[in-house]
Assembly symmetry: C2
Homo-oligomer: 332 residues x 2
């Protein structure tokens, strides 16, 4: 099943099911008003939602409309917890060099993860209001999972069975603020403004073989102002999503609807490019001796679209956003 959330002025938005080709949608509100409600009552709503999805594919469901990603909020406009790992060690090692921070202890054997704000996510086409170009505005292309209820102390294997949905996201980052916050030991806060999500959240079966071993084996195609930036593959993730969920739930339970992120998708092969600017910058420094790529400016756009190995567009739809001054956004 494919889910999206239409903006309707409420905090949780209005749930729709989206067709396989992402061309059509049908209101699911008679079954569950919102995606968070569906996740809280998953066992009860799964079968009727599947029946509605099937009827949409067959063209027999009443009220089928064209699917408009621009009308979408994030699939979960807010959620109980947003926990972002850094599970591509290639990215983590490069970022240590970029930030000039001490090596992370036990980096290869224990996931690192920060707790992000989860009350105000951005939709796939929303402008991104930020207070200053001097903050080092950067995108971070990632995959993520939406969990059902997770008990405290869950094993990594059992945690995989808690995965309800897969998502694609842009973990907006302010690179000028990150190193200071890492040095406090208290973690990222100002360095992480609202996170954005691709319009469609999907059940794992929608990925077929591309969901394997707790990893999304798809390339994340990233464009900055219309130019190719990279297409790293999710298969190189060093910790799988079950391991990340188990890490998050070691000393507390997670309530239904928590989102766990992969961290920036990153591949060892330089030819894959990058899913964030900071990584390209440190590679330039290493390979070319100097940084050539600046961070983002107001008016810049980033587009992210996952693709299957055979080149077909992935099921999440595209993130396509523009950075704008926070003051202008507040006035607008």
């Amino acid at each position: 099943m494919k889910f999206a959330t239409l903006k309707d002025g409420t905090l949780d938005g209005r749930l729709v099911l989206v067709s396989h080709d992402l061309g059509r949608a049908v209101a699911a509100t008679a079954i569950a008003p919102s995606l968070i409600d569906a996740l809280q009552r998953w066992d009860a709503v799964q079968a009727p939602l599947q029946a509605l999805a099937d009827a949409m594919e067959a063209g027999t469901a009443p009220g089928i409309v064209a699917f408009d990603p621009a009308a979408c909020a994030a699939p979960l406009p807010r959620c109980p917890q947003w926990l972002d790992g850094s599970a591509f060690l290639n990215h983590g090692r490069l970022m240590e060099q970029a930030f000039n921070t001490p090596p992370i202890p036990d980096f290869e054997t224990m996931p690192v993860m920060y707790q992000g704000a989860s009350d105000d996510f951005l939709g796939p086409r929303d402008d991104v209001p930020l207070p200053s170009e001097a903050h080092g505005i950067d995108f971070e292309g990632e995959f993520g999972v939406v969990c059902g209820p997770v008990p405290m102390g869950v094993s990594a294997d059992a945690a995989l069975s808690c995965v309800r949905l897969l998502v694609q996201l842009n973990d907006w980052s302010l690179r000028a603020l990150g190193p200071h916050e890492m040095k406090t030991g208290f973690g990222f806060l100002q360095a992480k403004p609202s996170t954005a999500f691709a319009p469609v959240a999907v059940t794992p079966d929608e990925l077929g073989d591309a969901w394997q071993g707790g990893r999304v084996r798809m390339k994340l195609h990233v464009q900055w102002n219309g130019e190719r930036f990279g297409e790293p593959d999710g298969r190189e993730m060093n910790f799988h999503f079950g391991e990340l969920i188990a890490h998050a739930a070691r000393t507390r339970r997670l309530s239904a609807g928590c989102i766990v992120g992969s961290g920036t998708v990153s591949n060892r092969a330089r030819g894959a490019g990058s899913a964030c600017i900071a990584e390209r910058r440190v590679i330039e420094k290493i390979d070319l001796g100097a940084i050539h790529t600046p961070f983002m400016r107001y008016g810049d756009r980033v587009r992210m679209q996952a693709r299957f190995a055979d080149g077909r567009d992935g099921p999440f739809g595209a993130i396509d956003q523009r950075v704008v001054p926070a003051a202008a956004a507040a006035e607008g």
Copy 2:
């Protein structure tokens, strides 16, 4: 006004108004079903809630019942964001020695703050299920504020006017896990299980002179297994709550209901005792040359109660909790 939330099996619980003497309560659900709902519609509900509170004090409101803290969830059983500062620099400096972590940069001029989980708070009398006594189980007595909507980039002064309610809380901590998480730079996650709250959240006017300069000028009396542990005063907070809120909102807005914490209340005078075990331990090491106090064991209780300068009980009610094995809690 004084608010509490009765457990009723829902995620947000059921809102009641509590009398000045904490002896009586009256359902506020006809005005707002839950505290989070009231905070989201504050301007519309403030006057009718005040009228109901006045009628309860006058004894004219129908349906007045005895107030039972044991029936309470946290005033907000879940909230949009839980952001905990470390605004008592005396505590922070001692903890650097306790954890043997590097000095925090700009510690005296810029607040430090971590983002905590906000989906599953504990009530004032709830057992605290934790997976291992080896994790260094510790309490942390704090004050906090509940905010209305906070715009991105708010000033510290303007942020103070966003304070809707004051709360008293216990930021449970696992000290064996903290230093590693600080060294990753990603901040606390496993080291911070669910946070607990005193039963009553109050509007700032309920404190009279004890709410001054954005600080709660009250002593937080802490008892461990019935023995006095300390009663540090909130007046020594080095950053006030407006500064903490402004720090949290520098690059993002906060939605109504976010909670910002003071960090462990801590005084320079040794005679005040401590509001967490880790602080007493490092003081023992400094003053006596060796650590004498262990961390908590299963079955241990902690009680926290704020008091006014004249010794009267504060308006928050008491936190009184017992630590239990997580497995037993899951089975129970």
